[in-house]
């Protein structure tokens, strides 16, 4: 299995790199504001969601694999816009991809966004944690 960035994530990365540092934070804020709502069937099913312990704020993830296609759902509170932004990037960048494409995303993708000096490496670890958990769920749910 090769490690390569799918087009959706490569596009997001390029969008960040095209901006100056201050504007990168604004773009992250836009992602945060655009975290998709949960589909109705998942709304009251907190039992299905996995908490991301690497994040200080309560972030919950749920991965669906249907016919080899991955769907990622996430919730994060409005008081945690950075974490919401990270979740939104992964939800939007990974949903609709194949199992193999999701598993091929490099584990350190978070550090590829050009945010290390604006956001700090420590905070990016939270996003790395999210990606690791998504990939683990994809592995578990596609094994059956």
């Amino acid at each position: 299995m090769s490690t390569a960035l799918p087009d959706s994530l490569a596009e997001i990365r390029d969008d960040f790199h095209a901006l100056g540092e201050k504007d990168r934070l604004q773009l992250l804020l836009e992602f945060s504001n655009e975290l998709p709502e949960l589909p109705p069937e998942h709304r009251d099913r907190t039992d299905l969601f996995e908490r991301v312990e690497e994040c200080q704020s309560p972030v919950f993830l749920l991965v669906d694999v249907r016919d080899g296609t991955v769907h990622v759902h996430a919730t994060a509170p409005a008081e945690s816009p950075t974490t919401r932004g990270f979740a939104s990037i992964l939800v939007q960048g990974l949903s609709g991809l194949s199992v193999d494409d999701v598993l091929a995303v490099p584990a350190d993708f978070a550090f590829d966004l050009g945010l290390t000096s604006a956001v700090s490496p420590l905070r990016l670890r939270g996003m790395t944690g999210m990606l690791g958990r998504i990939q683990r769920q994809v592995r578990e749910k596609s094994a059956a």
Binding site: L25, S32, T83, A118
Partner: protein
């Protein structure tokens, strides 16, 4: 001291009431000359979503840390930062932030390393201000640069290093992390990224008092009486004059440092900012697991 002291009755019960202001006082003093409001959050984007009018943002990760060495910025770096934020050496600084002022207390502690005299916390922090429906803005102020002097950082009084903690063993230590981190449960979870230290547990004899216990339900600090019951009685620091607090990287323990120093008036409190990410990975330092403080290691 530039701005007047908040005369609020609750604040007067603390050892150093001049270190806190209420949201009502701050609202009345938004335009007081010489007062600079600083927002410092755990979440780096919160300030951008809206902040107290006139407040400048200081980010602990990117602005108070040295980018290479695991240390804080030096005197020249601090002077540059203060100048850029429009802060004079004589300014009254009011710091506030998210999560019951967790990171705001960290910033305040770093400002104290440089001996900035008048730094205060907003009791209840960002959440309280918002809960009370007070004004917010997304406008970024552009303060005029100041002539902040280059002052040397003084670590000795309020900062402990690993060797200081070893020498301190036997005197009160407070571990302010979550109970799971204290007992050492949170380490070996298969297929989960590691937590940043090689071993789980705590420093032998350290008492567990998770930092957020110092805050009441509304995010403001508990009363002096309640704080004394938690720290002096329950955590058994009694009338001790020398206490060290630690957490994972020293951020949560800054909050406890503030409580012990300024609210309870313990004469000497140091924050061990190396904290568990250093201690839990260091070679040949004693650690203990489980819910009990544990015995002092034989030397």
């Amino acid at each position: 001291m530039t701005a007047p002291i908040d005369p609020d009755a609750k604040l007067q019960s603390y050892a150093h009431p001049e270190r806190l202001v209420t949201t009502a006082w701050l609202e009345q003093n938004l335009r007081t000359p010489g007062l600079v409001i600083v927002e410092c959050d755990e979440d780096v984007l919160l300030y951008e979503t809206g902040h107290i009018p006139g407040a400048v943002k200081v980010d602990w990760h990117t602005e108070l840390n040295d980018p290479v060495v695991r240390d804080y910025i030096d005197g020249a770096g601090f002077a540059r930062l203060m100048s850029a934020k429009g802060i004079d050496r004589e300014s009254t600084i009011v710091v506030y932030g998210d999560k019951s002022n967790w990171w705001a207390a960290y910033a305040l502690w770093v400002f104290a390393l440089f001996g900035h005299e008048d730094v205060r916390l907003l009791d209840g922090g960002r959440d309280r201000w918002i809960a009370e429906d007070r004004a917010l803005t997304t406008e970024h102020p552009s303060p005029a640069p100041t002539d902040y002097p280059v002052v040397e950082r003084h670590d000795d009084e309020i900062r402990a290093f690993k060797d200081d903690v070893l020498a301190h063993l036997g005197k009160p230590l407070i571990d302010v992390r979550s109970p799971e981190e204290y007992t050492g449960e949170r380490t070996h979870m298969p297929a989960y990224p590691d937590e940043g230290a090689l071993r789980g547990g705590h420093i032998p004899t350290a008492r567990s008092v998770p930092w957020a216990r110092a805050a009441a339900e509304d995010g403001t600090f508990r009363s002096a009486e309640e704080l004394a019951a938690i720290y002096r009685d329950e955590a058994a620091i009694g009338e001790a004059e020398d206490v060290i607090a630690y957490c994972r990287i020293g951020e949560r323990s800054s909050h406890t440092w503030f409580v012990l120093t300024h609210l309870l008036g313990v004469p000497r409190v140091r924050n061990y900012d190396g904290s568990w990410t250093e201690w839990g990975s260091a070679v040949r330092v004693p650690i203990t697991t489980g819910a009990e403080p544990g015995e002092l290691p034989a030397r």
